[in-house]
Symmetry: none
Subunit: 211 residues, 4 copies
């Protein structure tokens, strides 16, 4: 899963009120952490503001000092998630010796990331109905980095030419579904035999008759 990540987000960090004191900063972070847990456990719609503020240990009114609305904090969380996932993958990929290594490393990082962030990751699905634009943005952003990497590899002759966008979405789809099947459903790492089969399927597909 090779991807060159873009370093800075060009959508607002949408922070509503920049905390001016360290006490405020701490409160904001407690809220964010609580929200990640609660949204992850219950999903966007079933999570309530009471759940979040209770878990954060602050009064309900306090929440609205730092975030505009329930949707607001949810979006902040999704952007963080997107940012961190892409950064981790890009770091893993940048150290790869070969293309195959890069792809394998990308998949592996992806699986370990969603294992760590299982809950929050799941609720990205809720996004489709909470904020469709952000939902598209999330996957497009992911795909962008992928496309750049694939184009470079194709130009360099490491992979045969195939429409890069199609390939990018196909590989993301594979990663998501294997992650769902094992990491989310079984709460275990993707097994060796599945990693092997998936990598073989993907590499043969990318190399094709060229070999």
């Amino acid at each position: 899963m090779s991807t060159e990540d873009l370093n800075n987000q060009n959508m607002d960090r949408n922070r509503y009120s920049y905390a001016k004191t360290s006490r405020g900063e701490a409160t904001r972070n407690k809220l964010l952490a609580a929200a990640e847990e609660v949204f992850g456990a219950k999903g966007y719609y079933s999570a309530s503001m009471v759940d979040i503020t209770l878990k954060a240990g602050v009064a309900q009114g306090t929440f609205y000092i730092y975030f505009r609305s329930k949707k607001d904090i949810f979006e902040a969380l999704v952007k963080d998630l997107s940012h961190n996932l892409r950064r981790e993958i890009s770091q893993a990929v940048s150290g790869a010796a070969s293309r195959r290594e890069a792809e394998e490393g990308g998949f592996a990082i992806f699986f370990s990331f969603i294992k760590e962030h299982r809950n929050l990751y799941r609720i990205v699905q809720d996004l489709a109905f909470v904020d469709e634009d952000l939902y598209k943005w999330y996957y497009r952003r992911f795909a962008e980095g992928y496309i750049t990497g694939l184009e470079a590899a194709m130009k360099a002759g490491e992979f045969r030419h195939l429409d890069p966008e199609t390939v990018a979405y196909a590989l993301i789809g594979i990663a998501e579904f294997l992650g769902m099947r094992w990491v989310l459903w079984e709460k275990e790492p993707v097994p060796e035999k599945a990693m092997t089969a998936a990598m073989s399927l993907v590499m043969e597909g990318l190399l094709g008759e060229r070999r």
Copy 2:
């Protein structure tokens, strides 16, 4: 997308009240059609019973003659969707002359199906938090048919051996993400170049070094 569909559902059709008159049958169908539209447009949580009954043109109380709850009709819809999708694919695949044709036919049918049922298809995502078991059931059921077809093809030597379950989830992931990218987001058919690239990627992956 080759798949041998299982003929009978082993989960209840869970019809709550068998309409005893044709008028009742008609009302039930109106409700089902309205729910499909409303759930599709707004998602499970944002859709309200008022929305559904208003669109169906019946009183709110009437709904509860035919369905136990909001969740009940949602699940009925998902089961219908699952059933119909698998039936259509299995029909398309059964007439294929070769394995390649079968795979291509399966993908094509899948894309046209979600185009037709765009709204309802989208809400399967909501399932993860509405009824996790049904959510897993939906994909497992889908994968099962796939796995059967893949195993047969591998045994017959048409494809090289790769863990069939992994391949099944990978192919479903590809189909879902290409469908999302074009059918759901752009509201257009998956373009020729994408179909070509995807089929080439998949077929080379499945044939591999065997060729």
Copy 3:
């Protein structure tokens, strides 16, 4: 519990539609029987018309051919209950050799009656809020018979003179609470020791210093 019962009810039997056919008569009786069971098991407010018609095996609409409303059938039931209870007591009492025997017989019949009609008997309490007038009527009617019997016994010198109405309500209160304590709560007959104690308390109270 001596009581001369009045033979005919002077409040309407409040039958809404006199069944004209034997089929209709049968349906009406099925409804009455079902209502007794359902009201008894759930209480007036928690019992639903669906419960009643389902148990009677008729359509919901059919109910309204025979009764004006939910309240209507409830009141019909209460009147039946009142009538039957008073008739049974009056029969038991009329054969008594002595006053003491009459009182004992009255209590005994009362306890066995509420054992047989435990459920319906309980819901007379609901009456207080369903139809206050009928509620008062129920107890006044009961008291009337009692008063008549007590006055006769006092005049005959079998009991000392005490305000008969006060005594009537006191004795009804005793019977109700002993019945509640054992018959309703423990679902067993009132134990021998309680019967003995109660009769002794009552008889000494009624005989007083006269003895």
Copy 4:
């Protein structure tokens, strides 16, 4: 009505949310007062949350800050009633010079209590179908205190021996029915002649042939 009251309730006061400010405390009390009135006037089932919050002058949602549910506040009310009634009686009885005085004082306090709390008192009847256990608890608790007092008087030779539990329920029954007949129905105090007759009936019954 002699009774040694138990000092502490062993069922939770079941306060759901301790109001943290005096404003909150005031709101909770308004709600309690409104509920007492409304439940008393209409009974548990006919009383609606709208009635209660409207009478309390707060929004509907406010109710649920202080009480878990409609049933919750109802039970809180019943427990308060039980507690207060038993406390008042126990105070009145503790100052009595003789047993006869104690009994008379108990009856009198009981009648004046239900006159003051006519509304709430009535709804104890609803309890049988709202929460049967609490219903039994209410009367058992009442009887317990009574039994203790009676046993002491019997041991001291003030009353002859009669099964104390039977006598307790009998006396409670008398009090309830006389209270119902005059206080609840006529909205007047129990008349002198009824008090005299009842006390004479009870005292002779309790003294019996011993005298």
